[in-house]
Symmetry: C3
Subunit: 150 residues, 3 copies
C-alpha cells in the first residue's frame, strides 16, 4: 500500500494517531494555562513589564511554578518525538492493533505523567513508570520507521 | 473527501498552512540567530570551550539574552502545538475562510509576540494579547480535531 | 505533481526524509537517556520525590548534566524546525539530489553536534560548524517552501 493512501479517516491507525495527537496537543497547552494560573496566584512573573498590579514581583524560584515548568519541558522533549514518529509510523502501515495500542499507551502515559508530576505530586516510581512507557513506545516506533525506510 | 486529497496546493487551506508554518519556522530560527548575535555583542557564552577570544566569558544572567531565551522557549511551547494541530486541522476539511484566518491569526500573533517580547520591549498587555490569540486559535483547532477523530 | 502523490516510499526524497527524521528522533531521545544516566551516576535529581535512595540529592548545578541539558534544548530548537520544514519541503517536489543531500547534511550535522557538545567535548569551531550546517540547510528549505506556497 502506498503511504499516502494511509492518510485517511477510514484507516483506524491514522484516526487513532490524529485523536491521541490532538489530545496531547491540548494537554501540552494545558501546561501553559497551568503555569499562567500559578503565576497570578503567587504573583510571580518573569519580566519587569509584567508587573501590572501592586504586589506582582519578578521571580524564578517559586517551587510550584518551577515544577510545572520542568513538567512542561519534559513534555516538549517527549511529545515532539511522538508527534513526528507517530505520523511516520502510520505511513509504514503497521499492524493496526499494535499501532493503536502504542498510541493509546503514549497518550495515557503522558497524561498520567503530567498529573503525578505537576497536578497532584505522587511518590516515585509513578512518574518513572509513566515516563518509561511513553519513552519506550516512542523508541520502538522510531526503530520500526528507520528499518522500514532503509 | 478523503484526508490525503486535502494535501494539495490546489487546496487553499493546505497552502495557507504551508505558508504560515514555513514563515513561523523561519521566525523560530531567527530566535537562534538573535541569541547568537547578543552572545557575541555581550561576549557572554554558555560553555568554557566557547571562549575563543580574549574578553569572552561564561555567563547565564545577561538580562537581554535571558529575555530572548524566554521568548524562544515560549515559541517552542506554542509553535510545536500549532505545527501539529494545524496540519491535522487541514485534514479534517474545515471551512476554508475560517481555517485560513486561524492560520493567519496564529502567524501574525506569534510574530507580534516575538517583536514585543524580544526585539522592542512593549508594555503589557501587548504580549498577553498576542500570546492569547495564538493560544486560543490553537486550542480551538485542537478541540475540532479531537471531535472529528472520535 | 500533486503534493499527496509525493508521500510514497517510491519517492526517494520522501524516503530520505523519513529515514533521517526517524534517526534524529532516536538521537533526540538519546539525550533523555543520557541525562538519566548522568543523574544516577552523580545522584543528582530535580525533585524531592526522586530521592528514593540514600545519597541522592536535589541539584541543578552539576556541570555535566547542565551541558547535556543545553545540548538537548539546542536539539529541540533545531530539530522541531527541521521535522516540520523537511516534510513540507518534500511536498514542494524539490530536485531529488539536492533534497536528499540537505536531509543527510542536517542529519549528520546534528549527530556531530551532539557528540562534540555532550559526549566527547571538542574545541570550537567543531560545534559551531555542525550547528551552522544544520541551521543553514533548514533556513534554505524554509525559504524555498515560503516561495512555493506564496
Amino acid at each position: 500500500m502506498v503511504a499516502k493512501d494511509l492518510i485517511s479517516f477510514d484507516n483506524e491507525v491514522f484516526s487513532a494517531y490524529v485523536f491521541w495527537s490532538a489530545v496531547l496537543v491540548l494537554k501540552l497547552l494545558f501546561m501553559s494555562l497551568h503555569t499562567g494560573r500559578l503565576r497570578f496566584k503567587t504573583r510571580t512573573f518573569q519580566n519587569p513589564e509584567d508587573l501590572i498590579k501592586k504586589g506582582f514581583k519578578v521571580g524564578f524560584d517559586n517551587p510550584d511554578i518551577q515544577r510545572v515548568r520542568r513538567a512542561h519541558l519534559n513534555d516538549l522533549e517527549n511529545l515532539l518525538p511522538f508527534f513526528v514518529i507517530g505520523f511516520l509510523y502510520v505511513l509504514i502501515d503497521p499492524a493496526p492493533a499494535l499501532a493503536i495500542n502504542l498510541f493509546r499507551a503514549v497518550g495515557i502515559a503522558r497524561i498520567v505523567h503530567t498529573i503525578v508530576y505537576a497536578v497532584v505530586v505522587m511518590p516515585q516510581p509513578s512518574r518513572l513508570i509513566a515516563y518509561s512507557i511513553g519513552l519506550n513506545a516512542t523508541i520502538y516506533m522510531g526503530f520500526q520507521v528507520v528499518i522500514a525506510a532503509l
